[in-house]
């Protein structure tokens, strides 16, 4: 090292990151894939391909309903839900600095499940319960339950002072609320199958209203996330280092928690507790190209959306006209991906 190299001409700039334009290309490819999947969604369902194409050419009233009231909002909603899950996963993994973190860690899915089972049981057992249940619906109940679960976690970890205690509290709350939910289900076994349908996740009932809600949630979550990206990058160096850089860890953590909560709660409310998408999307992004934190926070939602759209298509196509629960398909896809990663790692060693 040249000891005289202290005084360097001011004009020397660090080399510009050549990955920027390549990242834009990658995003464009993702957008194209999304469009292709959406187009496929229009063609795949309970009708044969030929019928679907005929419908597009000369639609009657029922075809219009199926194509534009059922299939298109379902594809859009699936992408948005997957994007929210992907974003949640990227935030969770950055916040907890743990590659196995996923958006349901803070008790959101357990809370949502409890909310849904309470509503189903109330509706089943009394007329007033039925009225109330119809009022907020399964969607509202799941959303409120998810928020409740996360709130309980934050309370338990005493205001999210330490990341480790937040993680622990989330796991504890998850177990606790699942246990309560199981107890409730035992007392009212008729709701069991409905609960199962919810827990396994379903994109079947997504309409334009739900897509609108998901879209709004997506915007509300993405914008602040991009703004907080630099802080999250600093956080990856360690909490004390980030603090010494002038970062308010508490502010960053609480903001990210709020975004994570909104993203998870809105998704769970609309499509149930679909697993693996939040976990796998950030990893898939990193597999295809190295990205910094800000790029990851943009790419993971895109990847998650594509993942869930694909899973939705598969669930509709494999056993048509019946359909598989989309949560089962995402678990199979996600599980096989993880198995593939393990196998590749074993081979490298």
């Amino acid at each position: 090292m040249n000891p005289d190299a202290v005084a360097v001409p001011e004009a020397v700039q660090p080399a510009p990151d050549p990955g920027v334009s390549r990242f834009a290309l990658w995003l464009a490819a993702g957008a194209v894939l999304t469009l292709v999947l959406t187009a496929l969604s229009l063609l795949i369902g309970t009708s044969s391909l030929r019928t679907s194409i005929e419908w597009l050419r000369s639609p009657d009233a029922q075809a219009n309903t199926v194509l534009w009231q059922i299939r298109l909002p379902r594809a859009t909603g699936a992408w948005l839900a997957g994007a929210l899950l992907g974003l949640g996963g990227a935030i969770a993994q950055g916040l907890f600095r743990n590659p196995l973190a996923e958006p349901y860690l803070l008790g959101s899915s357990a809370g949502a499940g409890l909310g849904v089972s309470l509503t189903l049981i109330a509706a089943d057992t009394s007329l007033s319960g039925l009225a109330w249940g119809a009022e907020i619906g399964i969607t509202g109940a799941a959303f409120l339950g998810a928020c409740g679960g996360i709130g309980l976690t934050v309370l338990l970890s005493r205001g999210a002072m330490q990341t480790a205690s937040l993680l622990l509290a989330g796991i504890v709350v998850g177990f606790l609320l699942s246990a309560v939910q199981s107890l409730l289900l035992l007392s009212s076994p008729d709701t069991w199958r409905a609960m199962q349908a919810f827990l396994l996740g379903s994109t079947g009932y997504l309409n334009w209203h739900s897509s609108g809600l998901l879209g709004a949630a997506f915007l509300v979550c993405m914008l602040p996330t991009v703004l907080l990206a630099r802080g999250l990058t600093a956080l990856t160096l360690g909490e004390e280092t980030a603090q010494s850089l002038g970062l308010s860890i508490a502010f960053l953590r609480l903001s990210l928690l709020a975004i994570l909560s909104l993203a998870t709660a809105s998704t769970v409310g609309q499509v149930g507790a679909i697993g693996f998408v939040g976990l796998v999307a950030p990893h898939l992004v990193r597999e295809t190209r190295p990205v910094n934190q800000r790029q990851l926070l943009i790419a993971a939602p895109l990847c998650g959306g594509i993942l869930l759209q694909t899973a939705d298509l598969i669930s509709r196509w494999v056993v048509r006209p019946a359909e598989l629960p989309v949560g089962v398909v995402t678990s199979c896809l996600g599980g096989s991906y993880l198995v593939f990663l393990l196998w590749r790692r074993a081979r490298r060693v």
């Binding site: 199958r193 349908a197 309409n207 509709r316």
Partner: protein, 312 residues
């Protein structure tokens, strides 16, 4: 290698002996093949049940535990409800049954409670996991098959035989047959030749009742056409789009799920929804529909009544 062929030979010998031993009482599952008891007498009972186990009782059982609602209802309909000492948690008819000790469900039965009740026989559905466990503990079990419409008559006969009241069983079967026929005739009159297409939703999902299910059988009896085809299985989880495409004349659904039918994408376009041809059954009515038991005629009549009103 030689050891293995020897073992195989022994196994075949043992199985052969068992088969020979079981042969004299061979018969159709759950058929009361050998009733070696005098009717309503206190003589020994020897029966083979749906699991091909032989039941031997010295005298008709006085303490009976049932682990399925339809079996409970059958016992009570035979007039022997007083002999019940315990049921499963889902049995709720008739009212007197609700006060009995509850021994859990079919899959998670409370073994300890059952044993402590000291039953003379436990009557449960075919292929329940706990059967083996109870038999190990020395409890006498009796399997009945209770899935299809034909099973109803068979199980009534079998349960009547177990309880030592075969005459009452014959009478009950006649009554059931008669009320079902009455309801069917009444339904056909009300429908007056129409064959509406129907969709029966069993649960949110949506899970539909296919033709192979008990509900599907009843619907077929009434002359309706199920939009679900047989190859989809008894309770398929449908793509909601399927219902929109087939546009059933009548929709059957539980009262709790009925309000949000309109909110499902595309379902507000369904004729059945627009013209209010939705039969929403409350819990008690649904119980009579889904349980293949003595109240089958009630369920039948409920469906028929609603159909008569709303079918186009």
């Amino acid at each position: 290698m030689r050891g293995r062929t020897a073992l195989g030979a022994w196994l075949r010998l043992i199985v052969g002996c068992a088969a020979i031993a079981g042969a004299p009482i061979a018969g159709r599952p759950s058929a009361a093949a050998q009733i070696t008891a005098a009717p309503n007498g206190a003589a020994p009972i020897v029966l083979e049940d749906a699991a091909h186990h032989t039941l031997r009782l010295d005298h008709p059982p006085q303490r009976v535990v049932t682990l399925l609602p339809s079996i409970t209802e059958t016992v009570c309909a035979l007039g022997e409800g007083a002999r019940l000492v315990g049921t499963d948690r889902y049995s709720n008819w008739p009212a007197m049954v609700q006060k009995l000790p509850k021994a859990g469900g079919l899959d998670d039965a409370d073994i300890e409670l059952i044993v402590s009740l000291q039953p003379d026989v436990v009557i449960l559905a075919h292929a329940a996991r706990i059967t083996e466990r109870l038999r190990e503990l020395g409890v006498v079990t009796f399997d009945v098959e209770t899935r299809t419409y034909e099973d109803i008559a068979r199980s009534v006969t079998a349960i009547g035989a177990v309880l030592g009241v075969p005459n009452q069983a014959i009478k009950l079967n006649r009554d059931i047959e008669r009320s079902v026929n009455d309801a069917a005739v009444g339904a056909r009159l009300a429908l007056s030749g129409r064959t509406p297409s129907v969709y029966y939703e069993v649960d949110r999902g949506p899970y539909a009742a296919g033709p192979q299910s008990f509900i599907g059988e009843m619907l077929a009896r009434l002359g309706t056409r199920n939009i679900v085809t047989a190859e989809l299985g008894p309770f398929p989880k449908l793509n909601p789009e399927y219902v929109v495409r087939h546009d059933p004349d009548v929709i059957f659904i539980s009262a709790t799920d009925a309000p949000e039918l309109k909110r499902r994408p595309g379902w507000d376009q369904l004729r059945a929804v627009r013209e209010h041809r939705v039969c929403a059954f409350d819990r008690d009515t649904t119980d009579t529909i889904v349980r293949p038991g003595p109240r089958v005629a009630e369920g039948f009549a409920a469906i028929a009544a609603c159909l008569g009103h709303v079918a186009p």
